[in-house]
Every structure is written in C-alpha cells, then in structure tokens.
Point group: C2
Chain length 230, copies 2
DNA sequence: GAACTTCTGTAAGCTAGCCGACAGACTGCT
DNA sequence: AGCAGTCTGTCGGCTAGCTTACAGAAGTTC
C-alpha cells in the first residue's frame, strides 16, 4: 500500500483520518459525474477504472492496486471523474474523506503528497499506454497483460473473475474472451474453475502479453520499486 | 491561449520568461524518455501526443491546441514522458523553460497554476476517453472527431494534413484512411487538395463523429468555456 | 433433488480493417 | 518541359473479432 512508503511518524499523524473498509466485487468507488467522496488506498483489493459509452459498452482505462490510489482527481482538485472506478478483486482498502485528504495531505504538504504526485504521473502514463494498446494489440495479448497485472496485485495465484467481466475490461465481446481464455488454458498458463482463475505459469503469461505489460509495470517499478513491495 | 485567461498583471510578470516560437510540421516538443526542456502554450499551432510501439506503430493519445499546454508532466514534477508530442498543424506557440515554469508558476502559486491544474484534469479525461474510443469506434467516426477537434483549434477552415499522418494518429493503416476520407469527401463534408484539407461542412463532421467528440470538447468547455475563446 | 439461474464453450455467417501492391495524380526540382 | 519523388485512390485476398444462437456444465434456491 502506498501509505506504507511514508515515514512512520506521518503514518501515525494520518491514522485518525483513515478507515479500513472491506470491499466486495463491483462495489463502486468513483461514479462518473458524481462527487468523489473518498480517496482509497487499496491493500488487497484491485480496482478498475472504466469509461462507458452511451450504448453501454465499456473499456478499462486504468487498473489500480496496492501501488496507487483511487481518486487521483481529488489530488488534482477536481470533484468528479469521467470514468467509473469499481472493485474488480475484493479485498481491503484504507480510505480517507476527500476534503480531509485535501487539507491533511495536499495542502499540508505531507510526505504522502509527493508520493501521490508521482503516482499521478504513473497513472497518466498508464492511461496513455492503454489508449495505444487498446487500438493496436489483439485480445489474447491484452488478456495476458491484464491477467498478469492483476496477478501482480493480489495475494496468491488465484482470484475471482468471469469472462463477461473480462469482456467489459478489454472492451470486447464475451465469446471472444472465452476463445482467448481457452487458448491460455490449453497452453497451460491458467486454470479456470467457474468464476475463479488460477495463474499456473506466470512467466508464460508474461511472455504471451504485449509489450505494454512491461511498459506499464516499469512506470510503477521505476518510481516505487525500491519503496513499495506487495 | 491559456495564458490569455490569467490577469493582465500576472501576464506582465511572466512575460520575461516567455518566448514566442514558430513551429513547423513534425517539430518535436517532447521526446519520450528525454528531459522535457520547455513547456509550450500553443496559440495557432496544434500538437499531438502519440505513443509508439517497438515495431514503430503509433497511436495518438491526446491533442493539444490553444486550450492547453504541452508538457503537463512538468507541472506534475516529472522530467520525462512516455509519449512523443509534436507539431501537427504549424503555427505559433509561447514557451517557457521547464525549470522557470516550476519556480515562477508552480512554486510561485501563480494564478496560471490553478488554470493548468484544471487543464491536467481535462487532459487526463481526454486520454481516458481516447483509450475507450480507440477500442470501440470505427475509423470513419474517429476521423470525423479528429478533424473536427483540429478544426476547432485552427484559424479558418483548412489545414495541412496527409493521409499517412492521419493513419499515425488514428493508429490504422494508410489505405483505410484514404477510404474513410473518400467517403467524407463524397458526402461533401471535406475537400482535399494534396496535403491540404478544407472543412466544408462543420456540422456534418460533428454529426459523423462518435459521441467522444462531444465528451472530449465538453471537458474543455466546462472548465474554460467562459474564460477562453479561440 | 428438482427447478432455475448463471457461466462457459463453441459454431456459422458476417464485417471492418489489415496487408501488399500498384497506378494515376500532383508537386517540386532542374 | 521533363523527371523524380510524393501523395492518393483502389483492389483482392485475408484475418480478427463481431453477432447471434445454443447447449451443456456448474452453482443456487427452495
């Protein structure tokens, strides 16, 4: 968790403003067009930010786990976002009210503030790379990238996920995901038990992913690599 | 230009730090992985930020004209970017050295600083919407959107652009652009004279564009609409 | 354990866009 | 004017992924 990278004294100072919440699948953290009430620091949970078209089709624009915060817009002094951010892998988060975050972290020039500034950079890069990746790369490569990125952000090798969910994330149709997932299964990279996916061959997934996997994770590694461990 | 929206006194204070440059087609403003030396405020020029894959294929992730700045990463205290930003429609810009920008605008809490904070928000939204649009929408719709967005950022109704250039931006193959452009031409929306495009029917272009056109321009309109006019 | 719901795999037909190639149109240079 | 280089339009074969549909497997509810 990002909070773990700040000095102990500062963590103690911020502790009273933080609460721990356990979030379930699909819990919405940020709703587009609505005020952002909290900033979240995922520990075990993983969140997705998706953009939704008028016809209901959705595409993921960014993924956030222990390495980041949900609600970067608050740091940018904005009260709304264009994307919906929701829980994709259930788990724990710390959260802080947006107004408290602004006064105690941003305006107070907390050491955490600098960390988040760096994260906003990484988030921006991540979104830009996603824009290109979504255009250029094929489903199977993107699926490998996505699964490995989630794998890097959860405890253990398995997490709950359904094909339809993957289709929302990748912005493709559900049967296309089934076909791609079947290939990965046949290649021995993953196992699938009704809504639960297990990574069997992490190296293989990485090899099957597009170059964007490395590019994206490098954005976090080069900024937080030494300070932050899962 | 964004600078025009700050109080006159502040503009006078910043004037000594600014220089006017005339940029040509393809001039690079920000090179990925290299230090960002200047922050640019386009007036007549329009810039594109593109992400380049290892195999050389490129996709635009954002577009910047008079409504924004090139080099948002500097504001975020980052010295490099993952995208290349270059001149897509030649014209004038003001520019300021990155270190001066940090001391005289960001740290000095210039009124300009708040404007740019808002722009960073818009830029982030723009990039996220682009990520989804690139995945979902067809070439013709995206071409209409792109042309109209450029049209909104230039003087007059015509600007230089080649099909190959459009293909780089949209992340598609050149002949696909030719086909889409021919349709727009036949529909009477545009005229094409060897590397120079003229918008004949702006409303028609808007109607042919995907919903992302409105969504993106709204991000700027709602933030700068009252303060900034082309 | 029976009925129901949800999730996954698959298939056939279709379409947008890729890919490579090429010819004609235009521009610029000499 | 002539030549070379650049830009645009088009074509034919090809492929990834869409669309719709459906059947079976695995959970869920009563």
């Amino acid at each position: 968790m990002l909070l773990e990278a700040v000095p102990e004294a500062e963590r103690r100072r911020l502790a009273p403003f933080l609460e721990t919440v356990t979030l379930d699948l699909k819990d919405v953290m940020v709703e587009p067009g609505e005020p952002i009430r909290y900033v979240y620091f995922p520990s075990g949970a993983v969140a997705s930010s998706v953009y939704t078209m008028r016809d209901g089709s959705t595409v993921e624009t960014a993924i956030t786990g222990f390495e980041g915060i949900v609600g970067v817009q608050v740091w940018l002094r904005e009260s709304v976002a264009v994307t919906r951010t929701f829980v994709q892998v259930p788990g724990e988060c710390m959260r802080m009210r947006s107004d408290t975050f602004l006064s105690e972290v941003v305006d107070a020039k907390s050491p955490l503030n600098d960390l988040i500034c760096e994260y906003v950079n990484a988030y921006l890069s991540l979104t830009a790379i996603t824009a290109a990746c979504n255009r250029i790369h094929r489903i199977e490569e993107r699926l490998c990238r996505w699964l490995k990125m989630v794998h890097n952000r959860v405890e253990g090798d398995s997490f709950p996920v359904r094909h339809e969910f993957l289709a929302y994330m990748l912005g493709v149709h559900r049967p296309s995901v089934s076909i791609a997932a079947a290939m990965l299964r046949k290649a021995g990279l993953i196992r699938y038990d009704y809504g639960r996916l297990t990574v069997l061959d992490a190296k293989g997934l990485e090899a099957g992913a597009c170059e964007c996997y490395t590019a994206m994770e490098l954005e976090f590694e080069r900024r937080f690599g030494k300070r932050l461990r899962k």
